[in-house]
């Protein structure tokens, strides 16, 4: 493989990794937010009303 092809490969891998990192990072943030909401709902005594909807 020549130098240009190696660089192309590395940039392609970087682009795919960046895509997955951003997407999964966002899902992780949503999960953390969801869990915090559950704790808050229990504190307020409305956890059943959240589940039922």
């Amino acid at each position: 493989m020549d130098q240009a092809a190696v660089l192309d490969h590395q940039f392609r891998v970087a682009a795919y990794l960046v895509t997955w990192t951003i997407q999964l990072g966002y899902v992780l943030w949503l999960t953390i937010k969801w869990r915090a909401q559950k704790r808050e709902a229990v504190r307020l005594g409305i956890d059943r009303s959240l589940k039922s909807r």
Binding site: R12, A15, E40
Partner: protein, 234 residues
Amino acid sequence: MKKIAVGFYVAVTAVLLFWGYYQAIYVAPNDALQGEIFRIIYYHVPSFAVAFVFFAVSLIGSLGYLAFRSGNPDRALIADALALAGAEVGVVFCTVGLTTGPLWARRAWGIWWTWDARLTTTLVLWLIYVSYLLMRRFSAGPQMRTLAAVLGIFGALDVPIVYMANRWWRTQHPAPVFGGAEGSGMDASMVGALMWNMLAWFAWGVLILGIRFVVERHQQRIAAAEAQAALEAR
């Protein structure tokens, strides 16, 4: 039943994403001129396509909020949650597009960025929706949702400008692959990989949009319960 349906949808989305990756890496050939770097298009183009669809969802939510806010507060809150979810997930996909694009450009053009019409209008679009999210995050009160809806509508106006930028003006960004001038298009051996990834990322986007919508609806109920508790404590 609902859990089974969601589980099935998640499984189908995971298979589609895997299949899309397989198509992009192992089925589609290298581009004759660009080599492997061309394969970035299979993630780059679907990301922007999905972002545009979700900004349209945000527009519908914003219009719905303004339409319902006086007569039907419950519906207005649903529309507002949809507007927020559309904008936020749209920003996520737009961010992917704005980072994968420069990675391709560095190899194809020798530069990371240029201030041509397509790239600049896309960056402006991203900035408008980031400011929309920041405004929602750091402001409160009854006017916040109304102001956000108006900003969301203005943000959506930039989407057709971004889409048409490389048709209206001469840009460094490549000419449209689909729906462009005569002779534009993609080799048949590559179209399948692009379409599978389009479908896969759209399915993924709908999934996280749905989750974000539910999280925001929960947030609205928690805020209402907190307000009620504060009133009762007085």
